[in-house]
């Protein structure tokens, strides 16, 4: 990485341009603050979008949305400032800023959407923009792979989410989220809702990197630091938690909801923290601790009671306020020393005093030290847990989580800044410019300030709680330093945390050995395997189904059609719904036409001469046209005549041109093909049976009657078929002729390519 060593490198983007971009999140932040100050929540906005499906652009800012909005825009402002400094001089910086703006808009849409499908739209937009952001350094293979992985995992989850939304909308009869959360509790656990819940959970878990979809998040650290700080502290990965919190009032009373969230959240929290020990890269260590925090959040959403709802809001805020600065710190270390590997770092406080200060403040909040907002959150979480009956595993996971959080904070804030790196080499280091030091310091200081004066945010957090559990009271967030359960538990986690911190290196080696053995069955390698397996499988299927021989294509289509019809008929017969039409003797004309068809069909398989074959097939076509004449459908008959004529002429001309007609030019196919005979007999019998069943029932005449009645008075035409084509269903016809033209447009280059390929090589055939 060739970072410029001067404090003021030559900018590809001017300072003014960067400042203009910073105005985007800052302006939104001011706007959100203004809304919060002047309006009573929730604030609703709506525009009509697809009225026939009852889908509207509905937006609602409630407490939870407002909390997320403040983080998205507030931390966003810090990220934009930081990105301006971090990537100064990068020729693609402008693109990064635009992607960040788009991502921010998508996030804002997600947290304010009050319609399932509007939410889904923005949800997918965050997946796509984060793909672009994670893959920002697209020249590096590692970063392309990470971006692809993030997109595949969250994109697959997005599909599950869409399916879940559709089922949910069908089950509740509305797409409006604020209505759904009121309707669902009145419906009880129906199979449809359970299905919807399962799909929604997959969507939320992939987005928030919950076990077993946790593996993509640390890999996404290939993104530039400002992107990691934004996506993986305050915004995108919180979306899954946000969605769960949104739906908490709907499903909160279900035991399956409660237990799934508690178990998955706890496992993710514990596992994420353990995996953090495996890493040597500061950013990846922070990424795993983010996974763990997301697990804790999911667990808290799953827990009942107001205390848990308050704890979700508080932890969302606290995590944003300490994780973003810690990511910035990791970025600054990378910027100042050229490495993020903790073995090669140490004693940086002299060269990077301001970064060290920011790391210390943010680390204190992460470790839950007294006087920080992290401490308040610990207090709230502990209260939530003592208030309700808690799964023992969750309690244990939380202790593990807390201890390792202390250790991670120690590594990020103390080890690299205060300790000597031992026998490892020391690296050159320098402090970064104000754009890189300001944002982490400011956010970390905010985390401490809120720790000292928590009542500034207690109303906001209470409003977030109200959004999850209506009627939540405003908690008194206080800085209590009195000896009590909180300090006691803090002492325990602190003690364990310090031990883990001191034993970091031996623990790391132990885990590396275990991981080397379990890596093959881990989720990351399952993902890799599926990536290679999918194209292999697709290629095998394609080779089997599309082998380039026309008889095989026709056979496959005919066989699957026959199978589908036979299954349908078997169903009808089994259910007793099938009645068979009585056999009537046809009139003379009808019988004659049918005889032509049958004669043509019987002759065709036995002739070898192509011209005779063509005429036999033509006989089938003209026979069917005659059938239409006697069945009272002159228009269809006429069309059939015209099509048959053109078909026979063109094919005959082509065959003549190819010199494929005449003596000794017969088809070299075996005369008897049992499989083909079987398929055609079954298909013919199945279609005949289907027609007999279909024509047995009473014919619904309402539509034909209506067309017959209205054709002349409303459409001034006596030919009902044509009136339907050009008037009643004119839009369909317009679409069809457009398709006909487009197909020609697609076919012309193909034919031209065929001619080009033949032209130079005279013996292509």
């Amino acid at each position: 990485m060739g970072h410029a060593q001067t404090a003021n490198p030559i900018d590809a983007m001017g300072v003014a341009a960067r400042a203009a971009f910073v105005l985007a999140p800052l302006g939104l932040f001011v706007l959100v603050s203004w809304v919060l100050a002047t309006k009573t929540l929730p604030v609703d906005l709506a525009w009509s979008w697809i009225p026939s499906l009852d889908i509207e652009w509905r937006f609602r800012i409630d407490g939870l949305g407002a909390l997320m909005l403040l983080m998205i825009t507030g931390i966003g402002t810090a990220v934009f400032v930081y990105a301006g400094g971090y990537l100064a001089g990068d020729p693609n910086q402008r693109r990064l800023f635009w992607m960040l703006v788009l991502f921010m808009v998508a996030m804002v849409g997600c947290v304010t959407a009050d319609d399932l499908f509007v939410l889904f739209l923005f949800w997918e937009a965050t997946s796509l923009t984060s793909f672009m952001l994670v893959g920002y350094s697209h020249a590096r293979a590692e970063s392309r792979k990470a971006a692809q992985q993030a997109l595949m995992v969250t994109g697959t989850g997005g599909l599950a989410l869409l399916a879940g939304f559709i089922v949910l909308a069908q089950a509740t009869g509305t797409t409006r989220i604020s209505d759904i959360v009121e309707i669902v509790p009145t419906l009880g656990e129906t199979p449809a809702l359970t299905t919807a819940l399962g799909l929604l959970l997959v969507g939320a878990f992939t987005k928030s990197a919950q076990f077993p979809f946790h593996f993509w998040l640390p890999n996404a650290m290939a993104a530039p630091t400002p992107v990691s700080a934004y996506l993986h502290s305050a915004t995108m990965v919180k979306l899954g938690v946000f969605l769960l919190a949104r739906l908490d009032p709907a499903f909160g009373e279900w035991p399956s909801w409660e237990w799934t969230l508690k178990v998955v959240g706890s496992v993710t929290a514990a596992w994420g923290m353990v995996l953090a020990l495996r890493e040597r890269d500061l950013k990846r260590i922070l990424a795993w601790s983010t996974v763990a925090t997301l697990g804790t959040l999911v667990m808290l959403v799953g827990m009942r009671g107001e205390g848990a709802a308050i704890a979700v809001g508080a932890l969302l805020l606290a995590h944003g306020l300490y994780k973003a600065p810690l990511f910035f710190v990791a970025g600054n270390i990378d910027h100042g020393t050229g490495t993020r590997v903790i073995d090669r770092l140490g004693d940086l406080r002299r060269q990077m005093p301001w970064t060290a200060a920011a790391a210390l403040l943010a680390g204190a909040s992460m470790a839950g030290m007294p006087l920080s907002f992290g401490f308040i959150v610990k207090d709230v979480i502990l209260e939530a847990k003592t208030a309700v009956d808690v799964f023992t595993f969750a309690k244990a996971a939380n202790t593990v989580f807390g201890s390792i959080a202390v250790a991670v904070a120690g590594v990020a804030a103390i080890r690299v800044f205060w300790l000597h790196p031992g026998e490892n080499q020391r690296v050159e280091a320098h402090e970064c410019g104000p754009a890189l030091v300001g944002p982490p310091l400011l956010l970390a200081l905010l985390g401490i300030t809120l720790g000292l004066f928590p009542f500034y945010v207690q109303d906001l957090i209470a409003l977030a709680g109200v959004a999850m559990i209506p009627g939540t009271e405003v908690p008194v967030l206080s800085l209590s330093l009195a000896p009590g359960p909180v300090l006691g538990s803090l002492a325990v986690t602190l003690a364990i945390g310090v031990v883990i911190y001191l034993l970091w290196d031996p623990l790391h080696q132990r885990f590396e050995r275990i991981a080397a053995r379990t890596g093959r069955i881990g989720m990351a390698s399952q993902y890799e395997r599926s990536l290679t397996w999918i194209p292999t499988f697709a290629a095998a299927v394609t080779r089997r189904v599309q082998d380039g021989r026309l008889p095989v294509y026709v056979g496959l289509v005919a066989a699957s059609a026959a199978a589908a019809i036979v299954v349908a008929i078997a169903h009808l017969v089994a259910s007793g719904a099938a009645t068979w039409a009585a056999i009537e003797w046809p009139g003379l004309g009808f019988a004659g036409a049918a005889a032509l068809v049958i004669a043509g069909a019987l002759v065709a398989p036995f002739v070898r001469d192509r011209l005779v074959l063509l005429l036999a097939v033509g006989l089938v076509g003209f026979g069917s046209a005659l059938l239409f004449v006697f069945a009272g459908a002159p228009d269809v008959a006429w069309t059939q005549f015209a099509v048959e004529t053109v078909f026979v002429i063109v094919v005959a001309a082509v065959l003549l041109g190819l010199k494929r007609l005449g003596r000794g030019m017969g088809i070299a196919e075996p005369r008897f093909r049992p499989l083909a005979l079987g398929v055609s007999v079954v298909l013919g019998a199945a279609v005949a049976a289907l027609l007999m069943i279909a024509t047995a029932g009473p014919f619904d005449m309402s539509l034909p009657d209506w067309f017959g009645r209205t054709s002349v008075p409303e459409a001034h035409g006596r030919n009902v078929v044509n009136v339907i084509l050009v008037d009643f269903r004119a839009l369909d016809t317009l679409g069809e002729i457009a398709v006909v033209m487009l197909s020609l447009m697609a076919a012309l280059p193909l034919v031209a390519a065929l001619r080009r390929r033949r032209a130079p090589a005279g013996d292509a055939r």
Binding site: T639, I649, L734, I737, S743, L754
Partner: protein, 153 residues
Amino acid sequence: MNPRLVILDVVARPLYVVILLASLVVLLRGHNEPGGGFIAGLVAVSASVLWALAHGPAAAEARLPFRSPLILSAVGVALGAIAGLPALLLGDAFLTHLWGAIPLGFTEIEVSTVLVFDVGVYLCVWGALAGYALSLLEADLEAPAKDSPEARR
């Protein structure tokens, strides 16, 4: 190349005109009698194919309106869409058809957006299917000229 069939050559010119006139009749009577744009388009295609057999696909293409099957069918689609526009000006839904009559004293001519639409269908089908038929004929007729047994000898 195949020796030209003299009879085909001679009758192609009058037949071409007759078939196209017939297709126009089919098109215009379509609203009240069997017929319509789609069938009329197919009839017109057979005229083009006839010309291609007599004088070669390139000559048949040159005789098409606009001298290009793709443009012909595109014009057809455009006419179909245009036919729906007047209704929009009156505040009705797209493709709501309008009728009017031009009095000529002794009789009157009925005009309607339906006719415009049906002409669009006619041109689109003619262009597209003639495009398919002519390009296939062209591709397959020119290739054996080079590698047919006579050419190799």
